[in-house]
Amino acid sequence: MTVQIVLAMAALTLREVARRRVLRSLAALTVILLSLSAWGFSRIDAEFGGLTSGEARIASAMVLNLVMFGLSLIAALGTAFLAGPTLAGEIESGIALAVLARPLRRFAVLLGKWLGLVVFGSGFVILAGIAQLVIVRVTVGYWPPQPVAGLALLAAQTTALLTLGLLLSTAISPMASGIVAVGLFGATWIAGVVGGVGDALDNESVARVGTVSGMVIPTDGLWRGAMYALQDPIVLSPELIGSPLVSQAPLTATYLAWAALWVALVLGLAGIAFQRRDL
């Protein structure tokens, strides 16, 4: 019974996304980003004809990471602003009243919405990511070393952020939860960059900023893992240490396990907050 409720709510969430123009706006944004990147990559090839093959690979890998960051940002904004209204908005408008008076557990509703958003967010990141990889392949002939791992980590990053958005939306208003989720996403990215600079300068306390923020909210850590999987190992030259578009090390299994546990914990917390909430 609970499984049925979860699936029904997931299907409802996907239908909402499809019908609420979110999909169309995201598709439009993505097409713009992909076209711009296609043009950009074709210019790299045309204008830097004098580059050595190594230099061209470095440029391609870094620009690819930049564009992928853009994609993950679109996915993050999209899902964070969907996760807020889907719960807090329905509580505020009263849509939740009729639904939650049915013979179901609130956690099943939350889990269903989460699942729907994960399918949507991951689906978007993976499809747009594949399109981007194909564009890079066609324009400059670059193919990342671990494309599957890279896209999976991007999807995991989106999942982590939308889970956080759901937790926030059980406590604060729909708009505020979207803004706070995106704000935290941006803050951890900056903390990650600061940590990278700390690493480059061998300054332990500055480097710790990145480590700690990566533990508290794993979105940036997962993003760095994705970058590592997408970049050519050639970019790991000493000159590029500390660059925000280069990741120095792959993710450890421990970190991945922590990220999965983090998502489960945040979802559990959201479940408890939602269960206790008076409507």
Binding site: I5, G94, A98, L100, A101, P103, D278
Partner: protein, 324 residues
């Protein structure tokens, strides 16, 4: 609204369970410093239509939400159709129209019903869902998005949602707040149909006439407490008879006094008829006897204390006690 009466009651228990539709005891809820509901207990029997009355802020909606598990009570117990309300299954045969009725604007009316049937864990065939929409006069809008509906239409849809999963108990919170007079009459018919089908109804409404016409029993809430409860006869108690009389002899006076307590002002007599005399012969017998005693009768006007008057009396008595 006849389609619903034709709808059979498949899926309902063949033998009605003895457990009441709603049983709640000692419900309490505080919001910060304000006590919204204080020690509320009542029962709604199977097939019974019960009205929940009271002024704004009396705690009616909070009580309803506590019954449905939407608000957590600070204290008290609730059984729905014999099952503790903490179990979601207790709501399997409960239909609910919230006071704040909103449905997914991106779905069509038919899809909203399909969703609720699925969430209720039932397999209600398409034709039955269509009948349900027809019962609230939305049959021709089944394929339209809810976002394009007026408030009244959304409330009608809410009624259909409350009725679609073959409920044994229907909880309606202000079901006519957005409806026009025709819509209100439709809801009244619908309530009578539910009553005929032995579906229990808990009705919160400000339209006292509506409550008086369809409810078997009434609970009046004031400031979070039960101010009065009982059947309409119990609550409204006596009937009265107003007469305009001339040539009233002492014997005629005695005849009047034998029927009920007399209140005279000039030629106007008001007789309070005790409720146990509430039968068809009291008034005609009295009139025949008075004529026999030579009394000239200008007017005989039977009256009943209206529920509205009784409600106002109860609420005013409550507030004056508080001021003392």
């Amino acid at each position: 609204m006849t389609a619903l009466s034709q709808q059979d009651s498949r899926g309902r228990l063949a033998e009605p369970s003895p457990a009441p539709a709603v049983w709640c005891s000692g419900l309490r809820k505080r919001y910060r410093r304000r006590t919204a509901v204080d020690d509320v207990s009542f029962t709604v029997g199977r097939g019974e239509v019960m009205g929940l009355l009271g002024p704004n802020g009396a705690g009616k909606t909070t009580v309803i939400k506590m019954l449905l598990g939407l608000v957590r009570p600070d204290a008290g117990e609730v059984l729905l159709l014999g099952k503790p309300a903490a179990e979601p299954r207790s709501r399997a045969r409960v239909g609910y129209l919230p006071e704040l009725f909103r449905y997914q604007p991106w779905l069509t009316a038919a899809e909203v019903l399909a969703l609720h049937v699925r969430l209720a864990g039932l397999a209600v065939p398409l034709h039955e869902r269509r009948e349900c929409l027809a019962a609230v006069s939305l049959a021709d809008r089944a394929g339209d998005r809810v976002g394009s509906f007026s408030k009244g239409m959304q409330q009608r849809l809410g009624l259909a949602v409350a009725l679609v999963a073959r409920p044994e108990l229907v909880i309606l919170d202000e079901p006519t707040s957005a409806l026009d007079p025709i819509g209100r009459a439709d809801v009244r018919d619908l309530l009578l149909t539910l009553k005929a089908r032995q579906v229990a109804v808990l009705l919160n409404s400000h339209l006292i006439g509506e409550v008086e016409r369809v409810c078997d029993r009434v609970v009046i809430l004031d400031k979070g407490k039960v101010a009065a409860a009982g059947s309409l006869t119990e609550l409204l108690g006596q009937r009265e008879l107003r007469l305009q009389l001339d040539d009233v002899s002492p014997q005629a006076h005695a005849r009047l006094a034998a029927t009920g307590s007399v209140n005279q002002s000039g030629n106007s007599f008001t007789l309070a008829l005790p409720s146990h005399q509430d039968n068809d012969t009291t008034v005609p017998d009295l009139v025949a006897d008075l004529v026999g005693l030579g009394v000239r009768i200008h007017a005989v006007e039977p009256g009943r204390i209206s529920l509205e008057q009784r409600l106002l009396d109860i609420l005013r008595a409550g507030s004056s006690e508080e001021q003392r």
